[in-house]
Assembly symmetry: C2
Homo-oligomer: 218 residues x 2
DNA sequence: TAGATTGTTAATCGATTAACAATC
DNA sequence: TAGATTGTTAATCGATTAACAATC
């Protein structure tokens, strides 16, 4: 185990490892090597070993990693060994869709409150949660011990919503609005903007369109 | 202009630049320096200059970048100067939400077909598009010259859907299913899984929960 | 001309990969 | 014991940043 200075790249891989390990667990697999994992996940085995070893000695030389034990350890590292409450702001189509994720968010994560500034939506129910006005944000965050937030409001409102969330004590934000949210506060902000992703993907297209018969020009 | 070996990090930043430049354009701003951009976007100005200069000499020494011209150039680089057709597979809540993005996807990107394997959904209309069975995928991709795809099916179906998309000639995939999609083909796959993002975010939480009065233990 | 800002080189920093001793 | 696989060091590779000559 080395001195811990964990890069974001590592933190992004941990959920990928976790998901695969849970899959193995369901398949009754007891042990896995970094080589097996690497092959399935398209990641260099040395990288997997290095990632894991920066948090502790989880493997057994000559054997590999115990699936159950490694799952437990990664959950601890990601702090998924406690229940984490999430708020969702923006009860539009996307917010609606994500609120249904509660069914999928095993691992102790749960959306426990939904907010929207539109009075027409307030009071209505999505996935068993009453849509609240943003005025109630601060109190609800405290009362329900909400620590993460998902932003699915229009771009024009996103920065203001983020400011309110941070003011309310939120520790991390997953932003779906197509705008760059900024803060001076010590709050992690992830951007998950569909438009930007598609635009980046377009870069990898071949220059020319397919012809209608499926062939390519040039 | 250097020899072009463009990293994914650069490609991920280009849409961010583009979005900000369009914002400037709307504000009637004619010229912008890398320093101004960097300040707003929280990116090192040298990085911005380096990113842009790997595609050409777009700026003027002593002046900065012409907003209109740079927008045009970045659009060309991202291949957004042509209409790009997108297919969406999975007409659940998330698929439904994303299909409404057509309104936001300026820049010549458009979802032109929606597929779902559920016979109960087929024939129904979302955002003006009839939900088609996956059997029609290959023909529709050819006919409508579809080049990118968005996957919003359940995890268990995602790999099979991806295989079909690639077989049909799709050049890039944005995958929302919580599973690692793989391919040997020369197709770019982006993962946009909400669960994994939230799990990574959880890593940055402080170890302890807030108490109900808002204070922190330890 | 003086001030500003690019494009690019060189320096730094960080992340990935290879290699192998330790050891199950 | 022989084979397998970890944890870790060292080597490599790549990305970011600083610095500055060129020049608008």
């Amino acid at each position: 185990m080395k001195a811990p200075k964990i890069s974001e790249a590592v933190v992004r891989r941990l959920p990928v490892y976790l998901r695969y390990l849970i899959h193995l667990q369901q398949m009754q697999v007891k042990t896995v090597s970094s080589q097996q994992m690497g092959k399935t996940l398209d990641i260099n085995p040395a990288q997997i070993r290095k990632d894991l070893s920066s948090f502790g000695d989880f493997g057994k030389k000559g054997i590999g990693y115990d699936v159950d034990y490694l799952i437990e350890k990664i959950r601890q590292i990601l702090k998924l060994d406690q229940e984490i409450h999430v708020a969702l702001v923006g009860a539009g189509h996307l917010g609606h869709a994500i609120s249904n994720y509660n069914a999928y968010l095993r691992d102790n994560m749960r959306i426990v409150a939904i907010f929207d500034n539109d009075p027409a939506k307030q009071g209505k129910t999505i996935a068993g949660l009453v849509i609240q006005p943003l005025e109630e944000l601060k109190d609800t965050v405290k009362q329900r011990q909400i620590r993460l937030a998902i932003i699915t409001v229009p771009a024009a409102a996103a920065q203001a919503v983020a400011d309110q969330l941070i003011e309310a004590g939120i520790e991390g934000i997953l932003n779906f609005a197509p705008v760059n949210i900024r803060t001076d506060a010590d709050v992690k902000i992830y951007h998950a903007d569909v438009t930007s992703s598609l635009q980046s993907l377009a870069y990898y297209l071949n220059r020319t369109k397919l012809n209608s018969d499926g062939s390519r020009n040039k």
